[in-house]
Assembly symmetry: C2
């Protein structure tokens, strides 16, 4: 065995920053490949390959329009990521509350010290 296949799932597809950039651009609306190439400053084959990965995991859909191909985000495919991360939300809110408590305490001590 060796490295596990990574482009096979949404988490890995999204792990690549270029692909996140692509999704960010498509979040605004449908776009042809060339626009993405221009916006990203990346060579066309690279963009097509990233789009291929995104398509394979269902993160984007395509539509033919003459000799261009219009890509768009399929947002619901991100739900697994959202749900997983959300399960930790409680934990970090807890953390921030604790931090707030500590800060309040420090302020209080500060006031006490000044009297």
């Amino acid at each position: 065995m060796a490295r596990a296949a990574t482009t096979a799932d949404v988490f890995n597809a999204v792990a690549e920053s270029r692909r996140r950039e692509i999704l960010d651009l498509l979040a605004v609306g449908e776009r042809p490949v060339q626009e993405l190439v221009d916006a990203l400053g990346v060579a066309q084959p690279q963009v097509s390959k990233h789009l291929r990965v995104l398509r394979d995991v269902g993160l984007v859909d395509v539509r033919d329009a003459g000799r261009r191909r219009l890509y768009r985000v399929n947002a619901p495919a991100l739900k697994p990521v959202h749900d997983w991360v959300k399960s930790f939300e409680r934990l970090w809110e807890q953390r921030f509350e604790q931090l707030d408590a500590v800060l309040d305490e420090l302020k209080q001590e500060d006031r006490d010290a000044q009297q």
Copy 2:
């Protein structure tokens, strides 16, 4: 150039399913390495290496306890992922609303047909 370094950021750290499993286990509470090894059924060195990656991106903290090392989640490190995904929330809710609308429409047609 070649492949980009991937373990360097939170998105990639979390892209590996084993590491997500580790975080899930640690979400419950602090645990020594051996417990993770048992729970995951993975060899100890592999677990230690995954923990190393998680530590490097700040997703977990360690605490020495005798000859054991207790790991715990540092949830706030997940916020960048949460925030990014959340920016797409609006899009998929929109999608679901559209789906609901279509379903309602179909139901209506169904009722109409039965009359």
